[in-house]
């Protein structure tokens, strides 16, 4: 069973996830950012379900392991939808939504096929090395896509502060997870230590999104060129 610290981080994460949806409703940002809020609601559902499974079967049970890694992979795919909706917002003035949707479908199909291929080949060790590898790849693809989106924000001179903060926080989140999974793959002996980090990282995204919805008005603007590290 996770210790007191683990439970506190877990509870904090779940509260922050609920907080995002509440902030969005209060600031009338639920519909404009529907997929982001749906992702947060799904994360909250997964957090509660994981807690129930943990209480019923225990931390080291195969039920918990399967549910943990597969729900993680599903949530990452779900996050693609959220990311796609951000792409749609950035490209809305270029009327490129159809291309974005098509790209998202192709990407999702590719991810699904890739996942199936990996599952098919690794039946003997489903929740061991391959799931870590799969999650690592999923997070990395998400990271690359977020970087492409950030480049588009800079190129198109997108000025909406809230949208910029949502994209940047998503980039930080994907980078943290991709690095964590890569480290786990490189140093399997450190897995126990590195498994403590994802719940902590998981708190960052809902905290940043709740902040963006609550504190940044939709009409706030800033020059994205000021934020770029590389110009």
């Amino acid at each position: 069973m996770p210790g007191l610290f683990g439970y506190i981080v877990w509870l904090l994460g779940a509260l922050l996830e609920a907080g995002v949806v509440v902030c969005a409703i209060r600031k009338k940002a639920l519909r404009p950012y529907l997929f982001l809020n749906m992702y947060m609601a799904a994360s909250l559902f997964v957090s509660v379900s994981r807690y129930n499974i943990l209480q019923s079967y225990g931390l080291t049970s195969p039920q918990y392991m399967y549910f943990y890694y597969y729900s993680d992979a599903l949530l990452t795919i779900f996050l693609y939808f959220a990311l796609t909706s951000l792409f749609s917002r950035v490209f809305s003035e270029m009327q490129a939504e159809q291309y974005v949707k098509l790209g998202a479908v192709v990407l999702l199909s590719g991810t699904a096929l890739f996942s199936y291929a990996v599952v098919n080949q690794s039946q003997s060790r489903l929740v061991t090395h391959f799931v870590v590898e799969l999650s690592q790849n999923l997070y990395f693809v998400g990271l690359v896509l977020t970087y492409v989106l950030w480049a588009a924000v800079l190129k198109l001179r997108e000025t909406r502060t809230r949208l910029i903060q949502l994209v940047l926080s998503l980039g930080v989140y994907f980078s943290l997870f991709a690095a964590d999974y890569a480290l786990r793959n490189l140093y399997p002996s450190m897995t126990t230590l590195l498994q403590i980090l994802p719940p902590l990282f998981g708190c960052f995204l809902p905290a940043a999104w709740a902040y963006a919805f609550w504190r940044i008005p939709e009409e706030a603007r800033l020059a994205p060129a000021r934020l770029a590290v590389i110009r």
Binding site: L143, I164, L168, R215, R226, I230
Partner: protein, 133 residues
């Protein structure tokens, strides 16, 4: 090999996203002038400098905390420390980074001073409410 490549890319992207995110938090405060009260309390009459950061943070901790600011202050403090590390390591090899890091750290100080101004105003309102109630 693949994992090592992903790790290197992730760390590079992480740095870029983190710096840009912190800058987006600071950006709104950059144009905000320091209130008279903050100038008196901190003794900052000219543009904020990085050396004043620790003192302004100490003053900030003396004021009643506003829960919504807790996260951003921790993040900016982390950013300030990270810039310090960059300055004492990479900037030794790339001298142009030295000036950039100093300017960024000064903006962090300005940001914290702006938050201090908000907290002073918040405390004053709280006090006024208690007195009238």
């Amino acid at each position: 090999m693949m994992a090592a490549f992903i790790l290197v890319c992730s760390v590079i992207f992480l740095l870029q996203f983190f710096i840009s995110y912190c800058r987006s938090l600071i950006a709104a405060s950059v144009r905000e002038p320091l209130s008279q009260e903050v100038q008196e309390v901190t003794g900052m009459t000219r543009a904020a400098t990085e050396e004043e950061f620790a003192r302004v943070v100490q003053l900030l901790q003396l004021c009643p905390e506003r829960p919504e600011e807790r996260g951003e202050i921790s993040l900016i403090r982390t950013y300030f420390r990270m810039l310090g590390v960059i300055r004492s390591t990479i900037a030794k090899i790339v001298p142009s980074l030295e000036k950039w890091a100093a300017a960024e750290r000064s903006q962090c100080t300005h940001f914290v001073a702006v938050v201090l101004g908000r907290r002073i105003a918040f405390s004053r309102n709280l006090f006024a409410q208690q007195m009238s109630g």
